[in-house]
Structure formats: C-alpha cells, structure tokens
Symmetry: C2
Subunit: 156 residues, 2 copies
C-alpha cells in the first residue's frame, strides 16, 4: 500500500518543515509514500475563497488514481484514536487497498468537492491548528500507527 | 491573570523547542506567563512508573498557589474547540482568576493525583501525541485563544 500526501505549497514555518522531515525519514522504513509539493498558483485579489479552494481541489486530485482511498483532513470529520488509526491502516492493507491519499487543505480548508469525494473525513482535534501544523501531526500519526502495527516502541 | 506552564525537563526535540519559543515570543504580548523547566531527577531502574509519576506530580504542584485554577492535559479529558477555549479564558478573567496552571505530564502521563486535583481535564485530541508535542500544541492554542479574544487575525 502506498501513501500519497500532497502539500499545497511548501511548508514555510521552518520548525514544522524540520519536524515533517524527521517523521518522513522515520516513516520511509515502514511504507512507501509520495509527498509532492504542489505549486500554488499566485493568488490574486480577484480570486474568491471558493474559487481558490476549487483550484486547490483540482491540484490535490489531479494525480490520484480512481482506485485510491481518499482521506480528507477536516474539522468536520470524525476522530480516531492512534490505535484506531493503526487498525484502519491494517484493514486497508488486508483489503488490498493500493493507495491511500491524505488530503490537507490550505489556510482556507478543503473544498466541498473533496469532502464529498472522501472515503473518510478525519478530524485531528476539535481545536483548530494551522494547515502546516496539521501536516506534521498527520506525519506523526502515520509514523505512530506503523510503530503500533510493528509492535516497536515509540517513546519520545 | 497569569499563566503557569511548567515543563518536566527541557524540550529535547529541537524543532519542537523552536516552535515553543516562537509561540512563547508571540504570546508574551498578550499575557504574563511563567514556563519554568523543572529538573527531572535521574531516573533509576528501580523506580516504578507510579513512583516516577508521583515524583513528577510533586514537582508540578510545588509552585502552584492554592488559589490557582488547574488544567490537566490528559487524554481522559474533554475536548474544546479553539473558540471555546478562548471563551473559557475570558470567563476566568471575568471571574478574577489570578493564575491558571496548565500541567502536562512526562512520557508516562500525569499522576492520578493531578487528574483529581484539576479543575479541568483537557484533551487535545483522541490521538496520542508525544508530551513534547503537546507542549507546542498548548502554546499554539493559548496564542490562538488570545488572538481570537483580541479579534486579530492569525493565519499561518
């Protein structure tokens, strides 16, 4: 199973970029993943939030195969425990899922189209975090899930 | 109102320490806070987890005035939205609360004594994060709460 985790624009906050790198380096021992930085087009003052989100949705969806399982990260979603998330990944593997795409919006959040298309809408917390922080948290939870599945410790 | 946010040992993960510093620098424009690093005593193999947690509880509680409102960060707690957290801070201010202590455990979590003593047990997420990551998230949510209260934007 491959994980696709595209970023809308690069991570500007340096300490979050460092955290993401750290978890990406650890995660690659467990699973194949592709984490491309999709180029945001230059925003213009004319663009409405809805139009920007639609453009972002187009970018996020462009490289996803029709067979992929789509997880949308959105505050409207349901929460899972870390153990529950690890179980879900095992279930996907057992079902022969080839690709899981984790989609994180920009500062405006995800377009409705992605929420509708998603197989799972997942919320990290009732609290609001920046989308860059959500990137690091998703990486951390993926890494944690694979260590839970592997039965290795992760105490940091 | 003063915020007391003691850390059990320094933050070892450099990118998290950088994130905490960043939010601490921004938060100090809004509220007075004290964030001491409490020295963990050297752990010995003889110490049971319960004994270590009790020792940590003693450290965490030693400088808290009896009048302080205590918030324990623990997965067993209830969640708040960021708006709800901002409203709670406003409520404490209106009630004349002098000090709010936010207590985060070490890798083993908080001692039962602290959960019992707490006025509020707050959970950040159903997912498990490291205690060092929880530090950064609490700082981020405090900063977010004060920007919500101030009506200033925070889009990062």
């Amino acid at each position: 199973m491959k994980i696709y985790l595209p970023f809308l624009g690069k991570t500007r906050e340096k300490y979050l970029a460092a955290g993401i790198d750290d978890f990406a380096n650890r995660l690659k021992h467990f699973v194949q993943f592709d984490c491309p930085v999709l180029k945001d087009k230059k925003k213009s003052a004319k663009d409405s939030p809805e139009r920007l989100k639609d453009e972002e949705a187009r970018l996020l969806l462009q490289n996803i195969s029709s067979a992929a399982t789509i997880v949308a990260l959105d505050p409207s979603g349901s929460q899972l425990s870390s153990d529950g998330f690890a179980e879900l990944i095992s279930k996907w593997e057992n079902q022969g899922v080839k690709e899981v795409a984790f989609l994180i919006g920009g500062p405006l959040g995800l377009a409705d189209e992605i929420i509708r298309k998603a197989d799972l809408v997942l919320s990290l917390s009732q609290m609001t975090f920046t989308h860059e922080m959500a990137r690091m948290l998703v990486f951390e939870q993926l890494y944690r899930a694979y260590t839970i599945k592997a039965g290795t410790g992760y105490h940091k």
